[in-house]
Amino acid sequence: MKLKTIVMAGTALAFAGGNAAAQELTFVSWGGAYQNSQIKAYAEPYMAANPGVTIIWDESSNEAVAKLRAMNEAGNITWDLVDVVASDAIRLCDEGLAMEIDHDEMLAPAPDGTSASEDFGDLIVSDCYIPQIVYSTTFGYRTDVDEWGGNTPDDICDVFDLEAFPGKRSLEKRPINNMEWALLCDGVAKEDVYDVLETEEGQDRAFAKLDTIKDSVVWWSAGAETPQLLADKEVVIGSTYNGRLFSLIEEQDQPVAMLWDAQVFDLDGWIIPTGLSEERLALVKDFLYFATDTQRLADQAKFISYGPARASSAPLVSTHAELGIEMAPHMPTDPANAQNTFLYNYEWWADYRDDLDAKFQAWLAR
């Protein structure tokens, strides 16, 4: 430990000679494989090019909204760049906790000259948001379940079918996604899901459908739980983020396969907290220009199976950095996987989140 400190101090001194002052930036992300992919694809090349900058990572994206609010109350913003999902970005932007940005001015255009805002297209769901990746919440299942008699689930409703596919399931401990899937499998058409869910009867209907499997469900609250439960044979089928399943299947080599049906797309990207000093803001902007260009976003896909948010990055997605396998077929956006996707309604959930959450928790407790 002491040695490390000395080495670090030494390096800092060496840099101090060349640069005016070494600068430290705090980035917030999700930890795990995802954060690693960001470090490998963005932070390391950036620090190599800018030896005066050190980037430290805070694995607090889960609580980003709460912590940013607390920091804002205190008037002491210690974060420089925060990775959040789209719904949190919208919330942060609405509350003025995230900075509004001009995408075309701040971000690099595509190699063919297409402006950044056009390249990201509809994925810019908020004026404060710079999307990085498209991920999906979907199901993985074990391929070695004897009771299934050789059948494998290929439809979202197989999750609700305990007769054909007995065994434990894992679902996220919140209403989002579960309510939609339940309604879809209760015969509601995809485009009507939110209209139905808005009514008391619709909500009861979704709960009734979930009731049919309630006794067989293990509820998770962190993305890594399902992969672990699947690996430990604690569950036979479970929902989680597709990248987690990828690493379970390809990197850990477990007998698990993907069920892409009715996968729910979501976004992950950066926001800049409001209230940064000019100097830090300039540094953050410099990093963002670098880290969100077409090549960099495609590079991230070398480390994790999430689709780059720029249209121009898609053709550049190549092979996995260590395994050497083609990444394109593992992307949620790959046409073969995206045959039947479900569009998650941010606005609707922003309104009904608290209400349905209370009902959901009450339902769980009963």
Binding site: M71, A74, A222, A224, E225
Partner: protein, 284 residues
Amino acid sequence: MSALPPYASPLQKTWYYSFRVICGLIFFFLIFPIMIIVPLSFNAQNFFTFTPEMLALDPAGYSLKHYEDFFTNPSWQQALWNSVTIAPAATILATVLGTLAAIGLSQSHVPYKSAIMAVLISPMIVPLIISAAGMYFFYSRIGLQGTYWGVVLAHAALGTPFVIITVTATLVGFDRSLVRAAANLGADPVTTFFKVQMPLIIPGVVSGALFAFITSFDEVVVVLFLGSASQQTLPWRMFTGLREQISPTILAVASLMVAISIALLTVLELLRRRSERLRGLSPG
């Protein structure tokens, strides 16, 4: 219970032995879960279960890779570093303040003694989630949230009750006539404190300090709320690890922490014996 009398009836004998078996089982319940993680931490696989190879005692089923991961992974090392820088600072603060207060409280005429005592003990009683929530909001307001000193102050506050309790315990049996004797013989209060009181309460101070240390070293709820990335401690990483990453490195860390607990416990036991010896010599 101490020994079975020779005239014990068969029923008494049966009860005597079955009671011992029951107690043995309870001791097993206490210790087994802690010990089970040690072999599992040498798992060559990445999961929390015994593999068939491990059960067959096949050397291929075992590996040191999780320990290697702990010692080479910069984020675990950072967590270790944070733990060993936060806990001692909190311990020193808690021990100094706690010892002074315990001495003050042990005097005979302290106004509002029980009210003061209740306030000072409260960090031990108030549920951690409430302390953490309160500190989170309050420290945010004054800019201490997410800082090294914020965590140190919070941990020191949580540790002081233990210091007060252990030091008070050694002072309870303290014979005040010794102080008067020293004063009679011309010693000033400071000399009296260091020459007479101090040697007697030192075991209490040290064991209080150990309690304060372990409180901070093991604490996770408060640091989870109050800390930021640069204050991530070992328990914090273990907590997120348990929820978010499938890595038995946690079990390797846990095994190391058990070793630390055993070391601390040994020190404490030695201290207790020393204290008992000293007390045996002291009059009264």
